[in-house]
């Protein structure tokens, strides 16, 4: 198992996702001799997991059963330990396409946070790309590196514990894409530019508040980025249901044929029709953040005249 390559069977040291039921999963580090307690009973790693095929049904000690799934960045996103707010798959998918990530891409990211996006980036840029991820919180940067190792993607990533706004990304002229998820992204825009290839590339900033977006757009513009575009993508999940709609009873229809001296025929009770439909969840996540994308074109030789942000020098 690795987060960037499928395996057929579960091996010692893998991270597997135990599927317990609708929207209920839990990640498990597979270790010979270890056990995992679930609500359906105990899973014994040596016998129940190791050597089994991913996707198999595993019967637990209490007789209940679970499925054991191969990890993917998407399953990880809904199962990872939250050390920060995280990015979810809807935004991640948009970021991945809009940054034009693909095998071989070199990407800079800050902050690493809980590593939700990082795993998705690594999946996409493997086996020939590289991720430079910067996290100012020391413990978090250590923890995420540990996870990268467990997930066998550490050869594709460099984790730096520094402040991207002050110290940048630790690389120059190498990145095809830069992603910013920090409180003051505008302070890191010039570092993003420095980190990027001279021929250009794509940059994205994620911010929950519109004021951050406004400042970031201004910084992108001041730094000569083009095609600045802010978007928002919302997920809607539809629950498939069969619903039964009662039919109204308008009473006996006198225009219909009635037998002479008949008693009134009782209205057709229980009458209802069934429809297959979807219903929306009562509440949905109505906002995660704004995604602002921009393109760095090839470095120009001329020097920009800066008017607004005199602090930002090329």
């Amino acid at each position: 198992m690795s987060f960037v390559e499928y395996s057929d069977c579960i091996q010692d040291g893998d991270v597997a996702i135990v599927y317990l039921g609708h929207e209920s999963m839990t990640p498990v580090k597979v270790k010979r001799g270890a056990q995992t307690q679930t609500r359906y009973g105990v899973i014994r790693h040596s016998t129940d997991l190791i050597g089994q095929r991913y996707g198999s049904k595993v019967t637990c000690s209490k007789g209940g059963w679970v499925y054991v799934l191969h990890p993917t960045p998407e399953l990880w996103t809904v199962n990872l330990p939250h050390r920060t707010q995280i990015l979810y798959t809807t935004d991640i998918a948009t970021i991945t396409m809009m940054l034009e990530l693909k095998p071989g891409s070199v990407v800079c990211e800050s902050g690493t946070g809980s590593g939700s996006l990082s795993h998705a980036i690594l999946r996409t840029i493997a086996p020939t790309g590289h991720l430079h991820t910067v996290e100012f919180h020391q413990q978090r940067s250590e923890k995420v590196l540990e996870e990268f190792k467990e997930h066998r993607v550490d050869h594709l990533v460099t984790v730096r514990n520094q402040d991207a706004c002050k110290d940048g990304f630790g690389v120059t002229g190498v990145a095809d894409a830069v992603f910013l998820d920090i409180p003051s992204p505008w302070e890191a825009v010039r570092h993003a530019k420095t980190a990027m290839k001279k021929h250009g590339g794509r940059v994205c900033s994620f911010s929950p508040c519109i004021e951050q977006v406004q400042k970031t757009c201004e910084a992108f513009s001041d730094q000569g980025f083009e095609d600045i575009s802010s978007i928002e993508v919302l997920l809607r999940v539809h629950d498939v249901r069969t619903v039964y709609l009662p039919l109204p009873d308008f009473g006996p229809d006198p225009s219909a044929q009635i037998q002479p001296d008949s008693t009134i025929t009782p209205p057709q009770n229980h009458a209802s029709i069934a429809i297959k439909t979807t219903i929306p969840p009562r509440d949905i996540q109505g906002h995660t953040g704004y995604l602002t994308f921009a393109t760095k074109t090839q470095d120009l030789i001329i020097i920009y005249l800066h008017h607004k942000y005199t602090g930002c020098i090329l």
């Binding site: 039919l247 308008f250 009473g251 009770n269 219903i279 949905i284 109505g286």
Partner: protein, 485 residues
């Protein structure tokens, strides 16, 4: 230089008033009754002190469930936050940041500390608060405020407030009709004074009440109701003046076929028996329907269903009897007397019912209603097709359904049949915003859906043309082009 003088009394809370309690985004409709315990947001109190105060007053909950009008608030009730950090890089959530224990807080409460004071204590005893960003601090205060500030505002009920209340508390009771969708319905149906409007709803009376509010006691509303009696719990909550109720009529749909066929006899010497019979049949049916619905209902919802089966008279009696308090054991003789009285009462009621039916029937017989509003858990298509017959030409109608499929059926049927134009199947997307300096963004929690509407306008029906020739009823010159669109 006021152009007119307001009468304070219009804006004063009086005993017997229907009001809405509000805390944060949570509402509850109640009637002002002295010495009656009210439970709201897990706290109980008495509304006695509200009497005589102006509407929209905010009260603090003092011990013993006493309401006290809150003093004019300080300039933006400022909890002292002692400076904010710039980001959360140094914060580790180890669950140990709050030095006050649950017991400590209980003690503070018992000492009579107000919510605001308790929150200040919590802040002072939090080791991480001052390191949090302003944003996080705000969130923290808001959360704690909700928990410890015991305030309640008393509002005059309105369509806006009741629609938001039902949607927030009991969406199942109103078929998940969202308040903004209700707003669209009232406008699309051109509800206004001095018109004659048909309403078919199973939304606890909310839709009916909203229509009545917009008509302001002018014109007439005919509630077409399924089952044993019209549901009006929601209408009561509006607290309309008595004369509004004179404009409200009711007609049981179980007589609709008879009415359409012209065979409905509302003058029968003893029609009550007949009516009773079919009403009961309808009642049984309702029960059966409830069971066929593959939906698990919360206790509150089941209770509503039960209420819906009672006639409005029974309901209001029930409401009154609650105020009476305990039951006194009765002797057999009294029992007998009571039984007789009850039988008499029943007779009177049935006669009333007959009169009502006759009145509603005569309003309907003109087939010249000005508007039609449907919002129910029934399959809307047969309801719509039956009730459209009672509208004048060039009048709007609107049908709500939680399910788009139902309205596709209505649309298709109307297109086949003709007699309507401007058909539109719509839904609405509602977004709330947090607008705060440097923290402006859409509210994170959002309603998943507000239901669907089909609206249109009646036109004069084609005279006996075969269905086939009606295909061109609504010429659509540009339709074909957008087929792929």
């Amino acid at each position: 230089m006021a152009d007119n003088v307001d009468d304070d009394s219009l804006y004063t809370i009086k005993e017997g008033d229907y009001v809405v309690l509000k805390r944060g985004d949570v509402f509850k409709a109640v009637q002002i009754q002295t010495k009656k315990k009210v439970i709201f947001e897990k706290q109980w109190f008495f509304l006695d002190n509200a009497v005589g105060q102006l509407y929209s007053t905010t009260f603090e909950l003092a011990s013993g469930g006493i309401l006290q009008p809150r003093k004019p608030k300080d300039p933006e009730s400022s909890t002292d936050t002692k400076g904010a950090g710039t980001d959360n890089r140094n914060i580790q959530d180890d669950g140990k940041s709050q030095k006050l224990t649950r017991d400590d807080i209980e003690t503070l409460k018992e000492q009579g500390l107000k919510g605001q004071e308790i929150i200040q204590q919590l802040i002072d005893n939090s080791s991480t608060f001052k390191d949090k960003t302003e944003y996080a601090q705000d969130k923290y205060i808001k959360k704690k405020k909700k928990k410890y500030e015991n305030i309640v505002t008393i509002l005059k009920p309105s369509c806006r407030i009741l629609a938001m209340m039902y949607h927030g508390r009991e969406p199942g009771k109103i078929c998940h009709l969202r308040y903004d969708t209700l707003a669209q319905m009232l406008t699309l149906a051109n509800i206004h004074a001095n018109s004659k409007v048909l309403v078919f709803e199973t939304c606890a009376g909310l839709v009916l009440g909203s229509v009545m509010e917009r008509m302001g006691g002018f014109g007439s509303v005919i509630q077409m109701y399924p089952g044993g009696g019209p549901v009006r719990a929601g209408v009561e909550s509006f607290g309309f003046p008595a004369h509004f109720h004179d404009t409200l009529h009711e007609f049981p749909i179980c007589h609709l076929n008879a009415l359409i066929a012209g065979t409905l006899d509302t003058t029968a010497k003893d029609p009550s028996a007949d009516l009773k019979e079919s009403d009961m049949a309808a009642e049984v049916k309702t029960e059966a329907e409830v069971k066929t619905e593959a939906e698990v209902k919360t206790e509150a919802e089941v209770k509503t269903e039960a209420e819906q089966k009672g006639s409005p008279e029974e309901q209001s009696m029930e409401t009154n009897s609650v105020a009476d308090g305990s039951l006194v054991p009765k002797k057999e003789e009294e029992e007998e007397k009571r039984r007789e009285a009850k039988a008499q009462e029943k007779k009177v009621k049935q006669e009333e019912k007959r009169k009502k039916l006759a009145a509603a029937a005569s309003l309907l017989e003109g087939r010249n209603a000005d508007g039609l509003v449907i919002a129910s858990r029934f399959n809307p298509c047969p309801v719509l097709m039956a009730l459209l017959k009672f509208l004048s030409p060039s009048r709007p109608f609107v049908v709500y359904s939680q399910y788009k499929e139902c309205l596709i059926e209505c649309y298709t049927k109307l297109k086949e049949q003709g007699g309507t134009v401007n058909l539109k199947l719509t839904d609405y997307w509602l977004r709330h915003y947090q607008v705060l300096p440097n923290r402006t963004h859409p509210v994170l929690l959002m309603s998943g859906g507000g239901g669907y509407l089909l609206s249109g306008t009646t036109v004069a029906a084609e005279r006996s043309k075969p269905a086939a020739s009606r295909r061109d009823e609504e010429p659509a010159p540009k339709r074909q082009k957008v087929t792929e669109g």
